[in-house]
Every structure is written in C-alpha cells, then in structure tokens.
Symmetry: C2
Subunit: 214 residues, 2 copies
C-alpha cells in the first residue's frame, strides 16, 4: 500500500528519524484535513481515513469500523482526527443520541493508544464553542468542552511516552460563508493557520494541551 | 407536603418575594447537599431529592424517574443538583457506559426547564478535574468539562429569563481522608464554603457561569 513506504525518502534522509512519521489522518477530506495533509505530507507518510473516501474507511458512529481501520493501518506514529461531527439544534428538542454526537472522538484515545509506537501522539479536534456559546450550539459547547477535558484527563494516564492533545479552532475563513451567521462577529482563521497547531501537536513535545487557534 | 408551604413565612415576610423560593435540591444527602441545605433552608422551601432518601426519589441513570420526580414536585424556582456520579478507573479499561457516567446531569437542564417558573435557575455540579487531571480520572475530567461546556452552551438558549450555572469545587475538606490520595497536594475547601457558590447561582443574576471554588 502506498502508505507503507515513506513517500519522501529523499526529504527524510535529511531529517532526524522522528521527522518521518507514519500519520493516520482521520477526516482527511475536510477543510482542516486537507490543510493538515498539505502541511505534513511533504515530510511524513500520511494514511488518509474518511467515511466515504481515503486510503481507509471508518465511521465514528460504528466503533467496530474504527477497530478494523486500526487493524488495516497497523502501527503508526501519530493519529490525527479532524473529523468534527456535531449536532446543531434547539436545546429543548435535543435527544440523548443527538447530544452524544461527536463524543465518539474520545474512542480514538482509548482504541488508538495500542496502535501507536512508543512516543506517538493523538491529536483530536474540538472548537471555540467550548467556551464561546453560539445559538443552537449546546451540543457543540458540551462536546468540544468534553473533548478538551478528555485530553486533560487522558494525558496523565498514557504510557510509553504517548501524548494526546486537542486543537480548538474558531470559525474557519473557508467556512465563513456557510456558517458565518452562526458565529456573528467572530474573527476567522484560515485552515492553513489551524494546520500549524496540528503540526505542533504531532511533531512537538507537549501533552494534555488544548491548542486554541483563535 | 411539607415543601408545598414556605417553611419560613415569618422570615420571608421580611424579604423581597424572590428570597423565598421553592428549591429542588438533588443529592441532598451528600456532603455538599447537606451544606447547601443548611445555608438555604432558613430562607427558602427546599424539596430534597435523592436516590434512596429525601422528599422525592430519582435515579439519574433512569431518565423516567427524573420525569416522575419533576411531576411530583411541580413548578419550582430553582433546581440544584449536587449529585456528582463519576467513574474512576484506568482509561484503557473504561467502557463506553462507564465513560458516560455523570453526563446524565445535563438531562436536568433539558427536562428541568419546563418545571421552572419565569426567572428560575438550574445549578449543576462539576469539579476541579475538568482542568486539573488526576490519576484514573479521564472520566471525571471529561464529564466535568462537558458539564461546564453544557452550561456555557445552554445558557444562551434558555427562555423566560431562566438561568443555568455550574459550581466546580476542588476536593472537599470533609472528603480529604477518603480521597486525599487521589488529589495529592490539592488544597481543600470546606463544604460550607462551596455552598456559598450555590447561593450565588440561585439568588444571584449570573448565567452561563462556572463558579470555581478552589
């Protein structure tokens, strides 16, 4: 499979070993996923994962597909999830199932750790609604805050030098037209700038950190 | 029923109407619940709720018992939950069900709003682990952060002047002997001091606020 061989052997030979990682990029076809891919692919092997596209397929609402995806990918150096699934709707009409939408991302932290090589990292995606409420965003605030809390709590438990962080971006410049009315007056950030936070998490040394990009 | 009549008519007559509230106190038999009761009972009607004690019974893991409890209580001015149910255990062995322990508290925000009089309030309980991780506390960090996020997100959606806040205490002085080893070096706070934060939430004007007591 393409992702089993470092795509950039030439570049890698100029860099320390840890700069040529095998990275599982979940949500690779999204706006953030594409920006992360553009930033990291020149120096790393990226295995793209999506619900309906990518090297491998997985659906977060079906944990068994995550398990199969991990088995197919084998050992990796980093797991990056940019797949943010949230439910937007009035609080008073929200079902328990809708409320749990997005919380499945924490499964990556639980299932993923056994597929990481020593010193590997997990990077999840939360968002600005964790602390900045928006209309019909009770689920977004709850889930984003929960993921930040999960990263805080899980980081101290991981073994073998494994790390876990979250990236919490505000509204993307690329999404301003579609979602600007939900985030009135919010300054936007281009996905390329958000991608830098994933690089910090994957290639850096921090753990239990929420990288806010606002 | 005792709680249908203001227990403190004499005291109430000296105070503005809003100082004699009917307050649903869930988790009334716990350390925090007893302190909140001691602080608020002299000036308000308190309806105590517990899993196995209190004026009314409810079990958070069975949403239908919450519904019945609300029906039995009727309209109230404030809902206070000091019932913090968390799962402690190694992250790698935690099941999805264990992970969702404690998240049921948000149901109070959803179900409870229709039982509140105009201007009424909901006060939930999170905890210091939301931002300060502890061993085997991935669930505690996730759930506490989620409840803080829920309060942030739900506050902007409530109608009729309804308010929602959370109180986030650190380790109680009363719990130091039992749980001190889980929170090494944490300064403790007496439950009586924590109770003040519930008073601020119930009698004050703020909404979407996490009152940290550390």
């Amino acid at each position: 499979m393409a992702f089993m061989i470092c795509k950039t052997l030439e570049a890698c030979s100029l860099l320390p070993k840890e700069n040529c990682m095998k990275i599982l990029l979940i949500g690779a076809s999204g706006t953030i996923g594409r920006a992360v891919h553009a930033l990291l692919a020149p120096r790393h092997d990226i295995v793209t994962v999506g619900r309906s596209s990518g090297d491998l397929r997985a659906d977060f609402t079906q944990p068994e597909t995550l398990q199969k995806m991990f088995e197919a990918a084998g050992q990796v150096d980093a797991i990056v999830s940019t797949a943010g699934n949230l439910h937007f709707g009035p609080l008073s009409e929200m079902t328990a199932e809708q409320f749990n939408t997005g919380l499945q991302d924490k499964l990556l932290g639980q299932l993923g750790q056994r597929w990481l090589r020593d010193g590997g990292s997990i990077t999840l995606t939360s968002g600005v609604a964790a602390t900045e409420p928006i209309r019909h965003g009770a689920n977004a605030s709850t889930v984003n805050a929960a993921l930040n809390g999960f990263v805080t709590g899980a980081a101290v438990e991981l073994q073998r030098g494994l790390r876990i962080n979250a990236v919490s971006p505000t509204l993307l410049t690329e999404s301003a037209e579609a979602y600007g009315s939900v985030f009135p007056g919010f300054e936007t950030v281009p996905a390329a700038r958000v991608a830098l936070a994933y690089q910090r998490s994957v290639e850096g040394a921090q753990t239990g950190k929420v990288f806010e990009v606002i």
